[in-house]
Symmetry: C2
Subunit: 335 residues, 2 copies
């Protein structure tokens, strides 16, 4: 026995196929009586609409595409979690692409996602290629850039300023008396570069910037790398008195390395992380970090897409800055 189609439901309920279609998509446009009959028939036959057919006919699917740079990055899994929560109970579903932090991979993925006639698209950051920007700008659906900010989004952007967040964190460190602050950085993707820019701006403002204190690696970040970066720093620049890490994994690794070496935090070395993923606040001593609103960003981005699909007008301001929260803890408090 084959899967029932719209026609089968129509026959069963004694109406035409298009009426069933309407009963499903715009119930208000169908009389209550027919709607009831149709619902019974649908239930009885176990009818489920064919997604491909309706996409083909309407040139619009219920798929929302999300392009993330990595699956194993906790930041983006939080964004996804926030986005997917908003989708619960709706007709929409998530299709996910992994760009591997490559703008070119992203560029290759975009046309594939666009053929799905998506109801919306979410992409990470603002560092698309020119071609990607064009494709996205011409896409027949809402497009949200996330986890960054710019006055000039493709459509809408939801995020915060990585540069400003770092700037404020480093300002705080300087205010606590740290003078030789190093930067521990992994992967060096665009958002890490922005954090570096904020780091630099804050130190330069006080005449403290020293590019020799940038310890970076192209590898992806994890706690082991954090330990390793700190070890490298201490060998080459033992005089440094604090580290600003591009994310929490690195900060946790740095803190653990300090434990092993019996370096007192923050007396001998200050430590600051980024993202406040949850472990920094549990360490002993507790580690300062910058909380970033990851799930909120995902949720807000998705909500915009749903709103647009429900024909609501776009917000007056296309740049939605959700801010950040510097969470000052023992690891940077000297006073």
């Amino acid at each position: 026995m084959k899967k029932p189609t719209l026609k089968d439901v129509a026959r069963e309920s004694g109406v035409s196929a298009i009426t069933v279609s309407r009963a499903l998509r715009t119930p208000d446009a169908v009389s209550e009586k027919l709607r009831a009959r149709i619902d019974v028939a649908i239930e009885k036959l176990g009818y489920v609409a064919d997604a491909a057919a309706s996409t083909l006919a309407s040139n619009r699917s219920n798929i929302i595409g999300v392009l993330v740079p990595s699956f194993s990055n906790n930041v983006f899994s939080d964004v996804l979690a926030g986005a997917s929560r908003v989708l619960e109970g709706t007709k929409y579903s998530l299709q996910i692409g992994n760009t591997g932090y490559s703008a070119l991979t992203e560029e290759a993925l975009i046309p594939r996602f666009l053929t799905l006639k998506p109801a919306g698209l979410i992409v990470a950051g603002i560092d698309q290629t020119e071609k990607s920007r064009q494709m996205l700008a011409q896409a027949n659906c809402p497009v949200v850039q996330v986890m960054d900010t710019t006055p000039d989004p493709i459509d809408v952007i939801v995020g915060f300023s990585n540069e400003q967040a770092s700037f404020e964190a480093v300002e705080h460190m300087i205010s606590q008396g740290f003078r030789r602050v190093a930067f521990l950085g992994t992967r060096m993707d665009p958002r890490t570069q922005q954090r570096l820019a904020g780091f630099r701006a804050a130190l330069e403002k006080h005449g403290l910037y020293d590019e020799k204190l940038l310890i970076t690696t192209p590898q992806k970040s994890n706690v082991a790398i954090g330990r390793h970066l700190l070890a490298t720093l201490l060998e080459t620049h033992p005089e440094c008195d604090a580290v600003f890490c591009n994310n929490d994994d690195v900060a946790v690794g740095a803190a653990l390395e300090c434990q092993r070496r019996h370096i007192r935090v923050p007396q001998q070395l200050g430590i600051c992380g980024f993202n406040d993923l949850g472990t920094t606040s549990q360490m002993y001593p507790e580690i300062t970090s910058v909380y970033t609103p990851r799930t909120e960003v995902g949720a807000r981005a998705m909500q915009y897409i749903l709103d647009r699909n429900a024909d609501q007008p776009p917000p007056e301001n296309r740049t939605i800055d959700l801010g950040f929260d510097l969470r000052i803890r023992a690891s940077t408090q000297r006073h």
Copy 2:
């Protein structure tokens, strides 16, 4: 200007539409000469096949569905990463659903995924509802269950035995002289239940099982919860001499709580984690954990789906057990 269709490419290259279609899907069935002409036309027009139309006509899409219990669980993000790596450069893409650890949500998601005519489906574990099992068994595509093992998979299962892994870890702890071993557990999803079963079996074998030493919470796991569970344990059962944690976050939290309380590990308290996500091995002292082959599981599951879609026969054995690796470190070594 509209998007070019197969017809446009056909006109441009002077052949019929169906020939273009074949050149794309079964290049070997088209003469070299035509193929070359068609390729030029495709390039020139920037043709991209319409996914909905081809799904409708062929009753088969290039979407592979994955149902995960959570996005923020590192275990499943690793599975996804492994799966997505295998997909790189293929025509397939990933569509992801979030079951939120609910078998009923999963049951509701399955029909929605099946209407996509997926090229394959990956689901977590073996605890589907009966209805889910039926739908999956009748699905017209390969179905892989992951991160568990059973002699009776729906189609194929790729994973390892959570119960056996826990059993061996706890056996090791007992061999090191631990006698009052507690279980710290979060969420209590099926795989955690299995770990609990292995924990229990090992202790019962030596007459050491004490159900009062089970400290659990339905909350999702994180480092803070780990600290909290250990604190609770110490208040109620200060005589316990080791903890087996249902995952690494909990173990890290337990270890951090020990640091604060100046409890010596492993002398006063042994600690064992699960999954070996990377932080346990960096702690001081290093924490024993059970490595689970998460990315391998994702990759293997996906490879099976690709193979089946390339008309390769299924493996003789439908249960693929990738095993685990008990990584013994300082936190449980007393001898």
